[in-house]
Symmetry: C2
Subunit: 433 residues, 2 copies
């Protein structure tokens, strides 16, 4: 007799029991049961940006660039699309040029690694920086699930840092550093999205950015900056990112083409200009990340990199230009959502309902007077035809158990309006004391 | 004063000091210093298979399939290329159909996860199966560096199992299981490439396959089968893979389109039909792998999946048909290499030089009478203009320190002939006792 061939989840890696995985599954399942509900849950791109892309022309554009700007012969350029490519990437020079022109980030192409979306950049960065269980990662609470999920996959301990109206609470981070030290551990790095964080929608003022960089220097920790939503700021109202302010190579900057380009490309990047000292010399952290990448995905598909490279070339080698129409659309949608909340939630509401007014990003936070749990979501979906995300599913501490996240990126204005009307009816009837 | 912002490799994760990373770097560096040398080092695809691909037509073919076979409207099919897609994949049905028809693997599409190459499939499988440091992974020694590298990234302990002329030594694996148990650990899984392993080039006879499956059942371990090179067997001489023989869901089968299609696609897959019991029901291991994948790469680029889907559709939904011309080319190259060795190494050689005769795959092993180290490789490259890979760089134990691996996949026959002539001169002069 042999043992049963089935596996038991308790015998598998702990990350498979990460509550985030279940929460995402639950949301998808609710959405599939109420197909007529208006969903403020997904942070998906607007449909107009995932159609009509001429990938062939974009690829041709990139091939021409390889020939005219980099001196490849045409056959060699074509082969570069189909062969294994360099682990560090094919479009590093274009990304470096765009970051310099658009964001004041001065990085050499060798200080950049091109990844399968921002997600792989996060995984690689965490893997390189965290040596063992004494190294802990600080994250905003509530936090983007991609970074906490990647940390769990690598058994990296997490400590929460409160996020307030001006972003990550720098004093709380300092306290967490002291507390870690007192227990023989250290906060190795802190993950932060200073521009319109997901899920909080908060933007960190310039002064707080400087304070955070000062703390990082003082505590000898690194900052992992996620810039997925920075592009949604209006051009006369953008703030320099942490990497642009970084004078000590304290910041690993992570970006993605999922929002400024399109998600299906699966192309992102990390700027990692840190010098890593080996016994026999120095290497760049980006080179170390590329080495690790050979054990994760080998290299980022050159087919995808070519299309993204073509998009940059078609937009004057500028991320800002590439993102302009999208930024406008997402700002309009956000204004529409906030206006609708102002209009429909103005009166007759139970006390304790507050909605926030982010200056960019995809997300609006709403405080409720009652727990925003799965039972309440079922009522909202079933009886009122409107869906949202409980903020607590992004939290390590249960923080935000009376908050919801509304996303409006992929909806048309009339759907946003109708959705908010339904939401108002739901809040009025179901969240009274 | 702040501390120096540089990092020290000793403070980073141990995988960055994996000797494999250095060895690969060394080989590339030697190749760049001797551009005129003939290199038997890379297992790269033949150039004729990385040109002239009409990715647009292949993509159109796949879009038509989505519309006619799966009932998507044309706009929805197009959006599927550009949006985030399902983490589990878009082409699972086509892969399932091909595996059933070509390889006798009967898997439901839901039992498959599409990955960014075989490499990501290995990483995900290891992550799911290995709970903590008491779970060890058995690997053939010498072994493909992608699996040992992924294990190091996840801090999974490795135990070597000797590979002999009939493949993995099943008795040695049994002994390693006993020894692990005696120290409170368990061999959780064993990685094996039964068809023309990289680097050994060995094929496992049918009887050994059955013995391995029996041992897996007896020891309650899983087999991770890598089938990258099985397609190179001639069609009247192929053996059923472990997954085709698997009656107890003991095998996770990993495949790649890098060789039967093209590497730049970065598309692979895992067949993981194991049932995983949770407190509230059962899930498929493939679904668990897809959940983990959301924290690694989110999903495999639909652009790439569409091209690979188009390749399958263009070849009657058959991997064998897709691979036919490639299998013929690689068999011809292998025969050419072995013939040249027979011809040029026939006499006047120091004793102790033996070359092997694999029935398929990309690699020929040669035993030397002296250590095949980096110093010897420098001599071979510099004075004789021929490069090869020291087998010891694939070993956990230093095994194979007097062996080299010759790869001939990407070379033209005349280059193989010339390269072997140089190799013969080198061996004659430099490997005498």
């Amino acid at each position: 007799m042999t043992a049963s061939p089935d596996l038991y989840v308790r015998d598998l890696h702990g990350s498979l029991q990460d509550p985030v995985l279940g929460a995402v599954g639950f949301l998808n399942e609710v959405m599939s049961r109420y197909p007529d509900a208006i969903s403020f849950a997904p942070g998906a791109p607007h449909p107009e940006f995932v159609q009509g892309l001429d990938t062939r022309a974009l690829t041709e554009r990139f091939l021409t660039h390889l020939v005219t700007d980099r001196g490849l012969d045409p056959a060699g350029a074509e082969r570069a699309l189909y062969e294994y490519g360099p682990a560090q990437g094919l479009i590093n020079d274009l990304v470096a040029e765009a970051l310099r022109g658009d964001q004041g980030i001065h990085a050499d192409p060798r200080e950049i690694v091109i990844t399968v979306g921002a997600q792989e950049a996060m995984l690689l960065t965490l893997r390189a920086l965290f040596r063992d269980a004494d190294d802990v990662l600080a994250v905003a609470d509530p936090c983007f699930v991609g970074i906490t999920g990647a940390a769990r996959l690598l058994d990296i301990p997490l400590v929460p840092v409160q996020e307030g109206p001006v972003g990550l609470d720098v004093d709380h981070l300092a306290a967490q550093c002291r507390e870690a030290r007192a227990t023989g551990r250290r906060v190795r790095a802190c993950y932060v999205a200073p521009d319109f964080s997901n899920p909080g929608g908060v933007r960190m003022p310039l002064g707080v950015r400087h304070r955070l960089l000062d703390l990082a220097a003082h505590e000898d920790l690194l900052l992992i900056e996620d810039n997925a939503y920075g592009f949604t700021a209006s051009e006369d109202d953008s703030l320099p990112g942490l990497k642009a302010l970084d004078r000590e190579r304290r910041v690993v900057h992570i970006g993605t083409f999922a929002k400024v380009g399109f998600p299906g490309a699966r192309v992102g990047y990390a700027v990692a200009d840190q010098r890593v000292r080996h016994a026999d010399g120095e290497r760049l952290l980006a080179e170390e990340l590329a080495d690790l990448k050979t054990m994760v995905t080998v290299n980022t598909s050159p087919l995808s990199q070519a299309v993204v490279g073509g998009l940059l070339l078609d937009h004057g080698r500028s991320l800002t230009a590439l993102a302009r129409a999208k930024a406008e659309r997402y700002r309009r949608n956000l204004a529409c959502l906030v206006d609708a909340l102002d209009h429909h939630l103005a009166d007759e509401l139970p006390p304790g309902i507050v909605w926030h007014r982010p200056a960019g990003g995809f997300f609006v936070r709403v405080d409720l007077p009652v727990p925003a749990d799965h039972a309440l979501l079922e009522v909202s979906a079933g009886a009122y035809g409107v869906l949202w995300t409980p903020m607590s599913q992004f939290s390590l501490t249960g923080r935000g158990d009376r908050q919801i996240r509304l996303s409006c990126s992929y909806l048309e204005p009339d759907r946003i309006e109708t959705g908010v009307r339904r939401l108002a009816a739901f809040l009025r009837k179901e969240t009274g004391a």
